[in-house]
């Protein structure tokens, strides 16, 4: 059977599995449709949360970026896990005690204001839509490779499938489907990692293999990698950071507090049976997330070594990397490179016309490397590899069997679809229920509400798909912006709602608007108005990139959050205190006893 056929078979089988489980679970209980996870064991709920959380950015994009960035890529690892500690301690138990279904509902009640709730809806939509753009980028990469089409066609196919999937209804709400998706994605992620770790280090556990010796030598894998990449002019793998320490710091903060502010994640903790369970389920979710996240650095480092070894034979033999014979001939390149060239995400340009592939850092400041390259007749690096392809190409680079390659495709799609569907449902319920039904059109029929939700979904997919064609960065980078938006708007508002009982509606609204506002302004100045290419307005700020303390737009959520806190605090000092009953409400939320089942009629 051809690779193509195997891939279709595995992807098809996993889809059949999800749909089968959805039908089976639906027959069992209709309330499951709305209340994700109540009455489900906390361990299973943790798995489902893991699937909901780990998106195309985690699965497809992250290891590739780490592979490229080396040590500095750790900001994604720490940023996307550390937030769960904050979630477990600062938000989840209290939001559960509060007993509402969605973030805008909490904001509306706590700040006794429909205005605050509307602003929260806007923040939620801004973060969610940006997040979906990142998913579309990832889905586009996956489909383009497995259908053998261009990246743009891949995005269109992805849009159609995500739409059908999300409109299917409460697919996302059914915890058991997500448990299945978690199993598919984690198996798909770890199996190639185990194979490759065995192959490179003889240790089947990737987390240990990464700290082990390169097979057949007494040199550690990491020092071998350090040596190879520095000889070719790249930064030392275990130390290099693309970013300054300040940037890495605020970037990590932004991802962490963004995690604790993303609506589709928080929502899962609203509906667990007890306050106690809210704390525990955050822990279980992180266990299942950490399985992938601690494997990712091994995948990253090993893929990097494998990639270098593919194009330069001297990497394995330990000979001279600059010898003519070391670089492989383009005509003899492995099949996987040919397959990825079709997508346009891997490119070769024979700059010195010798028919061989030279891959090194031609922009290095190391004069020694440049001199060697010149002496060898190299005229610049000839291979460009898009970071987003590393995880998907990884099993091909390592010559793993076809079924593993197909499995990885299925895993990537499971990750992208489960998250995109979750986000789309969050958007559609925010618009149709929190905005239309609760505020603008109270007499909207249930049918009308559902229709409005579907229209909102379709519209978000089209917007996200369009922007996914011209993404503002790699999947993980775009998703990082979504976290920045959540970090600067929703997280501070929820925190102050729980920990500062004097926080009033004026402060909360002003804080959210200013926090989200400065973050969007900074991001759009760099990446274009609503990410549309050509509308950047850096000129207004002196034309220099990263003009505020050298901080990257992707990391700016932290600054936005600080602005939010400060503005909210100052405004609340000069405006009236919240009413007495709200202050009592906050005191009551802080104590676990008396947590009731979640109320509030919330459809889909």
């Amino acid at each position: 059977m051809s690779l193509q056929a195997v891939t279709y078979l595995i992807v098809g089988a996993t889809f059949a599995l999800y749909i089968g489980i959805a039908i089976w679970a639906r027959a069992g209980s209709t309330s499951e449709f709305y209340v994700a996870g109540s009455g489900v064991h906390p361990v299973l709920n943790g798995m489902a949360t893991g699937a909901d959380w780990m998106s195309a950015a985690s699965f497809i994009s992250m290891a590739g970026l780490i592979s490229n960035m080396g040590y500095g890529g750790a900001l994604f690892l720490m940023g996307w896990t550390g937030g769960y500690v904050l979630l477990a301690m600062l938000l989840a138990p209290y939001l559960r005690k509060f007993g509402k279904y969605t973030v805008p509902q909490f904001v509306g009640d706590r700040y006794y204001s429909k205005g605050a709730s509307s602003v929260a809806v806007i923040c939620l939509i801004a973060a969610s839509v940006t997040y979906i753009i990142g998913q579309m980028t990832g889905v586009g990469v996956a489909f383009s490779r497995f259908l053998g089409v261009s990246n743009a066609t891949g995005v269109f196919v992805g849009m159609a499938i995500v739409f059908m999937y999300a409109v299917f209804g409460g697919m996302k709400g059914i915890t058991y489907t997500q448990v299945a998706q978690y199993c598919v994605l984690i198996v798909a992620y770890t199996i190639p990692a185990i194979f490759i770790s065995m192959h490179l280090t003889g240790n089947p556990i990737p987390q240990l293999g990464l700290g082990g010796n390169f097979v057949g030598t007494d040199m550690t894998l990491l020092s071998k990698l350090d040596q190879v990449v520095t000889e070719l002019g790249f930064g030392k793998y275990t130390e290099t950071t693309r970013l300054s320490t300040l940037n890495m710091f605020v970037y990590t903060v932004s991802l962490m507090i963004g995690t604790a502010g993303l609506p589709h994640v928080i929502i899962r903790f609203f509906t667990v049976p007890k306050v106690k369970d809210a704390r525990m389920s955050a822990g279980w979710a992180l266990v299942f997330i950490a399985i992938l996240y601690t494997t990712a650095p091994a995948v990253a480092a090993m893929a990097r070594l494998n990639l270098q070894a593919t194009v330069n034979k001297a990497v394995v033999t330990g000979g001279d990397l600059f010898a003519e014979e070391a670089s492989i001939k383009y005509d003899e390149r492995p099949d996987w490179m040919k397959r990825w060239e079709v997508t346009g995400l891997l490119k070769f340009a024979d700059k010195n016309g010798d028919g061989r592939i030279q891959y090194y850092n031609d922009k290095t400041k190391n004069a020694d490397v440049l001199a060697k390259a010149e002496a060898a007749g190299w005229k610049g690096s000839e291979l460009t590899v898009n970071s987003d392809i590393i995880v998907l190409a990884n099993p091909e680079i390592a010559f793993l069997p076809d079924w593993v390659i197909g499995l990885v495709a299925a895993g990537g799609l499971a990750a992208a679809l489960s998250t995109a569907a979750g986000l789309l449902l969050a958007i559609s319920s925010a618009i149709s229920h929190d905005l239309l039904k609760d505020m603008w059109m109270p007499d909207l029929s249930e049918k009308g509400e559902l229709l409005a939700g579907k229209i909102a979904m379709a519209f978000s997919i089209v917007v996200a798909g369009y922007l996914g064609l011209n993404p503002p960065g790699f999947a993980a980078g775009t998703v990082a912006i979504a976290f920045g938006l959540a970090a600067s708007s929703i997280f501070p508002c929820l925190m102050m709602g729980i920990f500062n009982k004097k926080m009033n509606k004026e402060g909360a609204i002003a804080g959210m608007i200013c926090g989200l506002g400065v973050t969007m302004l900074y991001v759009f100045a760099h990446k274009g108005l609503f990410f549309i290419k050509g509308t950047e307005f850096l000129g207004l700020f002196g034309g220099k990139e990263n003009f505020f303390l050298g901080i990257e737009p992707n990391a700016f959520g932290t600054i936005g959050a600080i602005v939010n806190f400060v503005v909210a605090y100052l405004v609340s000092k000069v405006t009236p205190d919240p009413p007495e009953h709200i202050q009592h409400l906050v005191e009551n939320v802080r104590i676990p006893r008396g947590a009731k089942a979640v109320d509030g009629s919330h459809a889909h």
Binding site: I66, Y71, G73, A74, L77, M78, T81, G82, Y84, V85, A88, M89, L90, P93, Q207, L208, L210, G211, G212, N213, T220, L221, L222, S223, T238, E239, T245, M248, F249, T252, K274, V275, K276, R279, M280, A282, G283, L286, V287, A290, Y293, T294, P297, E587, R590, I591, P592, R593, G594, A595
Partner: protein
């Protein structure tokens, strides 16, 4: 809030602060700020700073949540505010 309510909230905030200190030290401290210094120490084949950044901090985060959940349970029972 009555007296025991205040004492309960104080105990909660103290625990949260303690957990956050560890959370900060392993990730931002060992993983970022002091990683270059720690890299001269080796943990197996890992430079220690690199290990904290790409492995260790995540293991510690998981442990922290379970420790927090356990200790919060104790505090809830001590102040008699736990769920029946």
């Amino acid at each position: 809030m009555d007296k025991s309510g205040k004492a309960y909230w104080k105990a909660v905030l103290t625990l949260v602060a303690q957990v956050l200190v560890v959370w900060f030290v392993v990730s931002y401290g060992a993983g970022i700020l002091f990683a270059p210094e720690l890299n001269s120490i080796k943990l197996g084949g890992y430079p220690l700073g690199f290990w904290f950044a790409q492995q260790g901090s995540m293991y510690i985060f998981v442990a922290l949540i379970f420790i927090y959940a356990k200790l919060m349970g104790n505090i809830d029972r001590k102040f008699d505010v736990h769920e029946e």
